[in-house]
């Protein structure tokens, strides 16, 4: 299952999903979430999802259904505008609130400390961005983010390279 989470002001996820359908991806094999109009708070760092209500975020807004889908997806594509060369704060909020998928327990993996995952299945992560993104930095960040979930980066693609991203979704 491919999950695309689109926070862009121009809703470019629609174009990406249109391309996916055009080249033959079955519509049941992917889902596009456009966060326009949704209320998604930032992570407040309360640690409740680790220490008080394990696995459950204390903030009750529109995020939990998204997190449930992230938990089941094989690929998660963050479709984001950029600022300071990085993803938008809207996209970063979505990533920051992924923590309920990890537990507070720690272990070493490949020489670095990692959180023990709450569930057996984790998705790979990719980025499609608009604007003046810092390609090298976004690649580094995407790799590191995926590493935290013991998964891999699917790559980072500017909007103009959307077709390349789509080819990774098949």
């Amino acid at each position: 299952m491919v999950l695309m989470i689109d926070t862009t002001t121009n809703h470019i996820g629609k174009v990406i999903s249109g391309e996916l359908l055009r080249i033959g991806k079955n519509a049941t094999g992917f889902e596009l979430i456009d966060t326009t109009g949704m209320h998604i708070s930032h992570c407040v760092g309360c640690n409740y999802c680790w220490l008080k209500t394990p696995g459950v975020c204390a903030i009750q807004d529109d995020y939990e259904p998204i997190l449930r889908k992230i938990n089941k997806a094989d690929q998660v594509w963050l479709i984001s505008d950029t600022r300071f060369g990085f993803v938008s704060w809207q996209t970063k909020n979505i990533v920051d609130r992924i923590l309920p998928l990890a537990t507070m327990y720690l272990k070493f993996k490949d020489g670095q400390m990692r959180h023990v995952m709450r569930y057996n299945h984790q998705p790979d992560f990719g980025i499609i961005y608009t604007g003046d993104g810092d390609q090298a930095y976004l690649e580094r960040w995407c790799q590191r983010t995926a590493l935290n979930f013991e998964r891999r980066s699917l790559g980072v693609f500017s909007e103009s390279r959307g077709k390349e991203a789509v080819s990774c979704m098949l």
Partner: protein, 223 residues
């Protein structure tokens, strides 16, 4: 020197580890008559005041926790509201995290090293240190003990070179743990640390296992 210190943590100030670090850092900073003013972005109602302080001052320090390999979303949102300034302003960072190894913070540090250029200001370096997760759960005496080293970094900052000196770079500690250390720490996390975390959780009113697979039973949260 007068420094505007902005706490970039989204956590409410009362429970903010970053806030406790700032307090100790500021002690060192002010030892020789330097002054400072502190703000916290966790309260959106103060953003106009913080922005005004950023505009009117030339020595700015943002202290922040690492959130998924970079800066917290809320801080990104605040940064977007800042106007462009010029190189008379110097922007430095104090980046802290839960993970102890220096390697865990380098991706966040790399973003912060480039950020001043986007804002039109000068970079004053980034003080990087992990192993701070537990601060807020410790008693006052232990909090003092664990944050004490930041006082020396406040003194160093007051000498005028931001965090660009070698002493600031060494402050991070080990980049990776050696294999024997990993074995010892790994064992601790399977035993003592687990028990300690369960105790902390119980003190917060949690009765569920910390590794509960909430959604696999599709039962929602009932504890």
């Amino acid at each position: 020197m007068h420094v505007v210190i902005i706490n970039g943590s989204p956590r409410v100030q009362k429970y903010s580890n970053t806030d406790k670090i700032i307090a100790v850092f500021a002690k060192g900073l002010s030892e020789k008559g330097n002054t400072f003013e502190t703000y916290a972005i966790s309260n959106r109602k103060t953003w106009d005041i913080i922005r005004d302080a950023y505009i009117k001052n030339d020595e700015i320090l943002i202290a922040l926790p690492l959130y998924v390999e970079c800066v917290p979303g809320l801080l990104l949102e605040f940064l977007e509201t800042l106007p462009e300034k010029d190189a008379r302003t110097r922007l430095s960072f104090l980046l802290q995290s839960g993970f102890a190894e220096g390697c865990q913070l380098r991706c966040g540090e790399a973003f912060l090293a480039k950020l001043p250029e986007y804002l039109g200001v000068r970079y004053g370096g980034c003080l990087v240190k992990g192993d701070n997760f537990a601060i807020r759960f410790l008693d006052e005496e232990k909090q003092v003990q664990i944050t004490k080293p930041y006082q020396a970094m406040g003194k160093l900052f007051a000498e005028g070179d931001g965090f660009l000196r070698e002493e600031a770079k060494k402050f991070t500690g080990p980049e990776y743990f050696s294999l024997p250390m990993r074995l010892i720490i790994g064992l601790m996390h399977k035993t003592l640390a687990k028990k300690m975390l369960q105790k902390v959780a119980a003190s917060l009113g949690c009765r569920a296992p910390l590794d509960k697979k909430v959604w696999e039973t599709n039962s929602g949260y009932t504890e």
